[in-house]
Subunit: 400 residues, 2 copies
C-alpha cells in the first residue's frame, strides 16, 4: 500500500478549493548574510507565513538536485522516483508541442550528410528562420503513410522535435544518431519486441527526410534522439478526484500539467495575466496550479538582485488571490535555484500552508531559515498533495 | 528507483574533498541536566556548529539501536536494512583479520571433548596466551588440502576466528556447535545446495583440528558459529565515484572501510595520529572517513566524565583539520552511546555540516538539543552521503 493507492481509495470530490502557487526556484542561499527571500520586501508573503504553518520540503531526496519535471511531479503528489519523463517529452513540452497518448516524440537535429557520411551533426547551426522554413517544407512534402501522422516542429538553430502519431508506437528505441561526425547515419533499432513498429515508422521517416531535403545545401538529413512516449501516468482526476487547472505562462509547465490531466487555462505572458486567469476560472475548478517563472529565471542567470525583484514583483498580487478565499493555499518552490549557484540545487523548498484547519505557528517570514523552524518540519515534496487534500477535507479516514 | 540507483546515475568525480569525522557514540543523554556534549568545553566543535548547519540523524529508523556495522553503513550511504554484515565477518574485522571475496569466516571457540561429548564449550576459558600458542600450532600442523587455505586467528581466552579461502564457498551453513554441554560435537550442514562444498571443507577442518589437538588437555576441539562471506556490497567507487580513504585506529572500522573499497591508511594508535595521517594523505583522496573511538568506549563503560574528557581531548585537533580546507565537513556520531545506558542507543546523532553551499543556521553549539533546532531537521543517516556529495558538487541533476 503506497500513497498512490491510498489516494485512490480515500480521495473524494468536494466544493473546497486549493491553490498551489509555485514560485519556481524561489529557495536560495545567503549572499552577504541574506538569501534572496531574506532580502526581499514581501509583506504579503510574510503575512501568509504568519497566518499559516511553514516547513521545508525536499523535492526528491535530501541532496538530490531535481529537474523541473521530477520537482513538479513530486509537488503534484507523484513519486518522482517512480515516474520519469523522457528527454523527448520534455523537449516537446518545452517547445509547446502537444503530446497525446498515441504520440511518440524525439529530439531532432538537422545534419549535413555527404558521400554517405554525416559531415556536420548540426548542419552548420543553420539560423532558426531556416529551420522554420525547412520544417514547414517537410510537413508539406513528407509522403503520407497509412495510419501514421508525422510532424516536425522547429526549435532553435538546427534543433527540432519530431512527433509520430499512430496506434502501438513504443519508445524502446535506440538513438538514430551516430554521435560522431565522419560516420554513416544510423537507423533506430528496437530494444524490445513491442517497438518493432515504431522502429519501422521512424526509419521510413528518416529515409523520407533524406529524399525530401535532397536539394538542401546544409540541412539534408535528420538525426533523432531520446524517443519517448506520453508517460503512462495516472491523471489527477483518477488519483485525487480533482478538477484541476493550470495557470502558467510557459509551455513546459503547461505541457507537464496537461500530462497529468489538468485543464491548461489560456493565460497571457505577464504576471497579472496569471491572476486574471485565476479569477476568470475560479468557479470551474477545485485545484489551481499557479506557476511563476521569474524567480527561477533570475536564479539561473545568477542575478541575486533580479531574483529579489522577481519576489517583490509577485508579492502585490497576493491580495487578489486571497480575495478568492481559497480553502487551502500553499506557496512554495518546486526546487531551489540559488543565484550563487546559477542553477537548480538540492536545497529544500520553503513551504507555507494557510487553511482554517492548519493552525498557526510562530514563523513570521517566508524565508528558508524561518520555515526551517516551522510546525511542518522537514518533509518530502510528495507530501504536499496529501497535506493540501487533507486541509481541503478531500481525504476520507483510512481504516476504522 | 532507489537512492543507490540514483547514486550510480548521478555521481561524478571532481576534485572537491569531503571529510566525515565520526565521533563514535558521541550522542548522549543528560545526567544532572546536561549531556556529555553539553558538559564538554569544545570551542572548536561549537564554532563549526555556528559556521554551518545542524540536525539530528537516525541511524536506521527511529527507535532502532544499531550495531557499529549498520550505523556506519548508513553514514556511508548504504541502506542498513538492505545490507547486513554477518557476525563472522564482524568478528573477523574486529580482530583485524583480513577478509577477501573468496573467504568464508566464522567465530570459533576452543572446547574440551571427552568420550565423544563436549564437556566444556569454552575449554576452561584458557588464557589468551595459550590461545595464541594453539592457533600458531594449528596453522603450522593442519594438513594442506588442495585448493583450500585455512587459517585460525586467536581472540581473547577461548575465542578465535577461522578463515577458509577457496573458490565457491557459500555461507548458507548451520552452526557447528551443539550449544549445550554433554552433547556430541555437531558438524555443519548446508542449508542451500550451493553451500555443499563449504560444508565439506568446514567439516574436514573440524576433523583435522581434533586430530592435531589430540594431545591438548583442554582445547582439543573447535566449535564454529556465524559462518559468513565477504558481503556482496558495491564499493564506494562504484556507487559514488569517490576515491575514499579511512583514517581509523581500530581494526573493526578499518575492516568495515575496506569492505566498502576504502583505502585504509596506515595510522598510529593515538588521536594525533589520525590528523597526521589525514595531512599526509590529503592529496591522494577525495573522501576521508576519520574515526574517533574514545567517545564510544567511555560511553560503553558508563563513564560520563571520561566521555566528556574524550570530547574535550579531540576538540583541539579540529583546527588542523580545518587548515586543510575541506569543501565539505561533517561531524556526527554513527550512533549514540549515552553513558547512563552503558551501550549503544536509539537516540539520534547530533550532526553538523560545514560547506560554502550549506549556509548557516542559528545553532551555536554542537549538542543534541541545539542540533534538534537546526536547519537540517531530523533525517535518516543514509541521507548523509547524498548531502555530502551534493555540497561537494559531486551529484548531477536528476531528470530534466
Amino acid at each position: 500500500m503506497e500513497w498512490e493507492d491510498l489516494a485512490r481509495e480515500l480521495s473524494q470530490q468536494t466544493d473546497s478549493k486549493i491553490v498551489l502557487l509555485v514560485m519556481d526556484g524561489v529557495g536560495g542561499l545567503p549572499a552577504d548574510g541574506r538569501s534572496e527571500l531574506e532580502a526581499a520586501r514581501k509583506p504579503n508573503l510574510d503575512g501568509l507565513a504568519k497566518a499559516g504553518v511553514c516547513g521545508l520540503s525536499d523535492p526528491v531526496l535530501m541532496g538530490i538536485t531535481p529537474g523541473s519535471g521530477p520537482a513538479h511531479l513530486a509537488l503534484f503528489g507523484y513519486d518522482p522516483l517512480k515516474y520519469r519523463l523522457g528527454r523527448g517529452i520534455l523537449e516537446a513540452l518545452g517547445s509547446g508541442v502537444e503530446v497525446g497518448r498515441n504520440d511518440l516524440v524525439a529530439r531532432g537535429n538537422f545534419a549535413t550528410v555527404k558521400g554517405g557520411l554525416v559531415v556536420d551533426r548540426r548542419a552548420g547551426r543553420i539560423p532558426t528562420e531556416e529551420n522554420v522554413r525547412i520544417c514547414e517544407y517537410l510537413n508539406g512534402r513528407l509522403p503520407q503513410r497509412e495510419g501514421v501522422e508525422v510532424r516536425v516542429f522547429p526549435g532553435k538553430e538546427h534543433r527540432f522535435v519530431a512527433r509520430f502519431t499512430a496506434e502501438g508506437l513504443a519508445d524502446a528505441l535506440t538513438d538514430a544518431d551516430p554521435q560522431k561526425e565522419g560516420q554513416a547515419p544510423v537507423p533506430t533499432a528496437p530494444v524490445a519486441p513491442e517497438a518493432a513498429k515504431a522502429s519501422a515508422v521512424v526509419n521510413r521517416f528518416l529515409d523520407d527526410v533524406a529524399v525530401v531535403l535532397n536539394g538542401e545545401a546544409k540541412a539534408n538529413a535528420a538525426l533523432l534522439r531520446g524517443f519517448s512516449k506520453f508517460p503512462s501516468i495516472p491523471t489527477m482526476q483518477a488519483l485525487f478526484k480533482l478538477r484541476p487547472a493550470a495557470v502558467a505562462n510557459y509551455p513546459m509547465y503547461k505541457g507537464l500539467a496537461k500530462l497529468l490531466g489538468m485543464d491548461v487555462l489560456s493565460v497571457g505572458s505577464g504576471t497579472a495575466d496569471l491572476f486574471d486567469a485565476l479569477e476568470r476560472n475560479w468557479d470551474k475548478h477545485d485545484f489551481f496550479y499557479v506557476h511563476y517563472k521569474k524567480t527561477d529565471s533570475a536564479g539561473e542567470d545568477g542575478k541575486f538582485d533580479a531574483k529579489v525583484g522577481a519576489i517583490e514583483a509577485l508579492d502585490p498580487y497576493l491580495p487578489r488571490l486571497l480575495a478568492l478565499k481559497p480553502d487551502v493555499l500553499v506557496v512554495t518552490s518546486d526546487h531551489s535555484t540559488p543565484s550563487c549557484l546559477k542553477g537548480h540545487s538540492w536545497h529544500p523548498n520553503p513551504f507555507l500552508l494557510v487553511s482554517p484547519t492548519a493552525g498557526v505557528d510562530d514563523v513570521a517570514a517566508f524565508t528558508e531559515r524561518a520555515c526551517a523552524k516551522g510546525y511542518l518540519g522537514r518533509f518530502r515534496s510528495i507530501s504536499a498533495m496529501p497535506l493540501m487534500l487533507a486541509h481541503a477535507l478531500k481525504l476520507q479516514k483510512y481504516g476504522a
